[in-house]
Symmetry: C2
Subunit: 251 residues, 2 copies
């Protein structure tokens, strides 16, 4: 039996788009997470349910394939399913489709459950997965990992202060903001003429309100025929998150 699919429509407002009038990668993460939270609520598995166990879901990795980003005023459908899991990891997928049912975006993600007081990863309680009809598996699908930024890479670098509005209702930095810090470092004339085709994103250590983060990106170069940037966010010497983004021309 396949895992339950949850679908909602979403009309893309101008304020979820950038200067090119396409949805920003950060907003893409915001809206898919919204849909997964709605599925959680729909199945009685919202934040309150997880709270009983003293646990919360935390995403550790995204592997995002993009045919094209959703466009201003476009109505897309967004679907999600909690596809499979093992003792420690859960695998969740998302799809964005246009009004003709053509796939625009496919997101694969890996999640863990974290003890809210110890901030440590714990085994996933069975009760938190059964209602999704998730498939128990030995090994989860392998997501593509970001490529490291190396010491001799030619990089651009910028510092960002974590702001009040970067913090969400859980008191943590909303993950979507990492994508803004990753990409804002690139020059406007690059960002306004390119669209991502793939984003591999991994979260390592949480950044906090008041932190000054350092966003480092390799200058765009062709890797296996694809224009590629590698990204790293540091707080002091600690790596908070890494990403690899592949780009296509978009004029």
């Amino acid at each position: 039996m396949a895992a339950k699919l949850y679908t909602e429509k979403h009309e893309v407002p101008y304020y979820e788009c950038d200067v090119t009038n396409y949805m920003t990668p950060a907003m893409l993460l915001n809206v898919i997470i919204l849909i997964s939270e709605k599925q959680n609520l729909d199945l009685g598995l919202g934040a309150d349910f997880m709270e009983q166990f003293g646990l919360g879901w935390v995403v550790i990795q995204y592997d995002i394939s993009i045919d094209r980003l959703p466009e201003i005023n476009e109505t897309i459908s967004i679907s999600t399913q909690a596809t499979s899991y093992n003792r420690f990891f859960a695998f969740r997928e998302f799809w964005m489709k246009d009004s003709d049912g053509k796939e625009l975006v496919h997101v694969r993600s890996t999640w863990v459950t974290m003890n809210k007081s110890s901030r440590k990863m714990v085994t996933i309680p069975a009760a938190a997965l059964e209602p999704y009809d998730s498939e128990p598996v030995k090994r989860l699908p392998r997501l593509k990992r970001p490529t490291k930024v190396e010491a001799d890479d030619d990089v651009i670098e910028q510092k960002y202060q974590v702001r009040y509005y970067d913090i969400d209702g859980n008191g943590h930095v909303n993950n979507a903001h990492y994508l803004e810090w990753f990409t804002d470092v690139l020059p406007m004339d690059f960002l306004a003429t390119h669209q991502p085709t793939a984003i591999y994103l991994r979260f390592e250590n949480e950044v906090q309100y008041g932190h000054m983060i350092d966003s480092i990106v390799t200058k765009p170069i062709e890797v296996d025929g694809e224009l590629t940037t590698n990204h790293q966010i540091l707080v002091g010497d600690a790596v908070s998150a890494t990403a690899t983004i592949k780009w296509r021309n978009h004029d």
Copy 2:
């Protein structure tokens, strides 16, 4: 005959809220502008229509009264009407209501039409107002103006770099970001325990991508029994925008 009223419902997603789980003032501006753009389109008066005249609408002042901000997952209704106008100024109102029809927010705003090449204010073409059934008037309602930040005020100050994602599809800084720059300067423990009851906001000079702006705010003090902050955004010595915000406790 009263001006045409346009209404839409809006469900408040978590990513339009701050750490208190109430809608951010910046998102409040984003969603009301979305509703006015939908009314424009509905009446055949969208950006394309204004483009014929080489003109665009620009908001110069907001006077916002807040009973309480919309809450996470709440479905509100948002209404707008282009109430009245004279040769140079148009007056537009917005209302947010809860599901019982109780008014949460009332926004009064003043708009001008700007020539897109000269960036100068011009008389408003009659054709751009008639379909709204706006009332022609001699004098528009007087909106409350922000109080100036004075040289001897006790202030907090912070610099912000204008970022790529601050720029909208028109190539300009989305006005909503001014509210983030105005308020982020205040300490988190103040912002997380107070909610605005009124925001008077005036735009003077446009800030641009790459600008470093200076956001200056007076420390919260009681003025006529209301906790008040005055705000100023500078680019170099030029004032870009000013605001006065009144606050209430919100625990």
